[in-house]
């Protein structure tokens, strides 16, 4: 009974708090915020002084527009694929008893910890032209069947979903677990068939998790660098690779900055949307 009043009174005084927060704040401002501002600054300071010329040039550049289009194509298709695969996996996890579910979740989360370089390399081993899958296909088809799945669009998508799936699965799982089993049972008693239950109850109620998962995947995939670089072909350059191209190849730092800023803006919009959804979920008490 005493505790609630106590906790509000044993606060750290503002001066001490400021002292404890200062070092980290300074570091974050210097090493994170300031470089971002520098990038923004550079993007609006081409040789001719303060102007938006770099952006104008960018949006007239076929290279940029193509790269932007490729980025969205890859992101959207990758997100869709991970949604199609992730939803069944989330359903599978939902019906597991809690302890087994934890075990499976560890399986799902473990790849999250491994280096993306290792994963990319390993994927080329598995899906490459001389890789496991094609070896197997060659074996069963007498040497005729060989599907090029690496160093092209397919390779990028494969690498992407390998990275994105855990996020999508966890997001949808949250929504599914929060659903009231009673709803399902009530529907069954009323005579609804399995498909109708899925279509009219489970799917709509899982929407918050699906939308969140989609937004998270889009946000993560838009900024991808390693996967397209290692697993894609020349036609699969994404925005992040373009930034690198401008920085190291053409040494056009203004263009690089402008490109980075565009990427930042798109990402910020997605994060804002995600924040809005999360907030709405919190208010309605639905799955988060």
């Amino acid at each position: 009974m005493a505790a609630p009043q106590m906790s509000s009174s044993s606060d750290l005084n503002p001066k001490a708090a400021a002292l404890l927060l200062a070092p980290l704040t300074i570091v974050m401002l210097l090493v994170f915020v300031y470089p971002l501002l520098t990038t923004a600054w550079t993007s609006i300071h081409p040789d001719t002084g303060l102007s938006l010329a770099a952006y104008v040039e960018l949006f007239h550049s076929t290279l940029f527009l193509k790269t932007l289009r490729t980025t969205f194509e890859i992101s959207i298709s990758g997100t869709l694929v991970s949604l199609l695969i992730g939803f069944p996996v989330a359903m599978h996890l939902t019906v597991q008893p809690p302890r087994r579910r934890t075990g499976y979740l560890i399986l799902v989360m473990l790849p999250f910890w491994t280096s993306i370089l290792v994963k990319s390399f390993a994927l080329t081993v598995v899906f490459g032209n001389q890789g496991l899958v094609n070896q197997f296909l060659g074996l069963v088809s007498g040497g005729t069947l060989n599907i090029p799945m690496m160093f092209n669009r397919t390779g990028v998508i494969i690498g992407m979903i390998n990275f994105l799936l855990p996020f999508m699965i966890l997001s949808i799982l949250g929504s599914l677990l929060a659903q009231d089993a009673m709803l399902i049972r009530a529907a069954e008693t009323m005579g609804a068939g399995s498909f109708r239950i899925f279509w009219r109850i489970i799917l709509p109620l899982s929407m918050p998790g699906v939308v969140a998962g989609v937004l998270i995947n889009m946000t993560l995939s838009i900024g991808m660098y390693i996967t397209p670089a290692l697993l894609g072909g020349r036609q699969d350059m994404m925005v992040a690779n373009l930034v690198d191209f401008y920085t190291r190849q053409t040494l056009d730092w203004t263009a690089a900055s402008a490109t980075a800023m565009v990427l930042f803006a798109i990402s910020a919009c997605l994060v804002a949307m995600l924040g809005r959804i999360r907030g709405a979920q919190g208010l309605s008490g639905a799955a988060a």
Partner: protein
């Protein structure tokens, strides 16, 4: 919803998809392990002979094990630095009523939300001005900003679970804030700090994009070297490097999971 309806879709179909997915997620990381013990001449699965040649190749090449040392050093420095910065900050955020707390917390979490390449470029441009390119210190600073969000999440969660009454009673008994922090608060945070530290270490160890922008020949980290190797050389020694990295990553991951279990059991 255990043992509940079949979702209107064939149960077995769902299982097939699910298991394929688990396999797909897990297999790649594991497959490199047997490859690394194979013939040093080619990347092969299944390996035709057992040999440690690739590992010997790795450890005898100063470019490789040098980059490993650099990575370990940077990761260690990053962990220590970000703990020293973030733990007191987390304490201040959770135990004070300072105005602007939410804003600061947002600032500390931001690195998670920004595409890494944007940060990489910004640091590249900024470090050129400051002469921090190709320095370990510069890389450590950069990795600190990436590690801080993880430590924040873990430690703030630990602080939320810590008993404020203990700090109150220590105050009443005459203890100074400093003593309270070290003898009452930190011991309660030991597993949260450990989890945060492991996250920080792993994040720095695996980090490639920012390192790629900010390091040079003398400060090359293992991931950067691996990236170049995969991109341009594709030599089989990469399998050995991958195995080493995977073993380290998985050990750390299991450590984190083990540390997080007791708290889940309590709450």
């Amino acid at each position: 919803m255990t043992g509940a309806p079949s979702f209107g879709i064939d149960r077995r179909g769902v299982s097939v998809v699910a298991w394929s997915c688990y396999l797909f997620l897990l297999l790649p990381s594991l497959i490199v392990i047997p490859i690394s013990f194979g013939n040093p001449g080619e990347i092969q699965f299944p390996p035709r002979q057992f040999s440690l040649a690739l590992y010997r190749q790795f450890f005898s090449d100063p470019a490789w094990w040098g980059s490993l040392l650099e990575s370990l050093g940077v990761a260690l420095a990053t962990t220590i630095a970000s703990l020293c910065l973030a733990v007191p900050a987390a304490y201040a955020l959770s135990r004070s009523r300072l105005a602007g707390r939410a804003l600061l917390r947002g600032l500390f979490m931001m690195p998670m939300l920004v595409p890494v390449v944007v940060l990489g470029l910004g640091l590249y441009l900024q470090y050129s001005d400051w002469g921090l390119l190709d320095t370990s210190a510069g890389l450590v600073l950069a990795h600190v900003t990436l590690a801080v969000p993880f430590i924040m999440v873990s430690v703030m969660s630990g602080l939320a679970h810590a008993d404020v009454a203990l700090e109150t009673v220590a105050l009443i008994m005459g203890a100074s804030r400093l003593r309270i922090f070290f003898r009452v608060v930190l011991p309660q945070l030991s597993s949260a700090i450990a989890v945060g530290a492991l996250f920080a270490f792993l994040t720095s160890l695996d980090e490639v994009v920012v390192a790629y922008f900010v390091t040079g020949t003398s400060t090359m980290t293992l991931p950067v070297k691996m990236y170049s190797a995969i991109r341009w050389e594709l030599s089989p020694v990469i399998a050995a490097v991958s195995t080493l990295l995977t073993v380290v990553s998985l050990s750390i991951a299991l450590g984190i999971i083990a540390l997080q279990r007791p708290t889940e059991a309590n709450s």
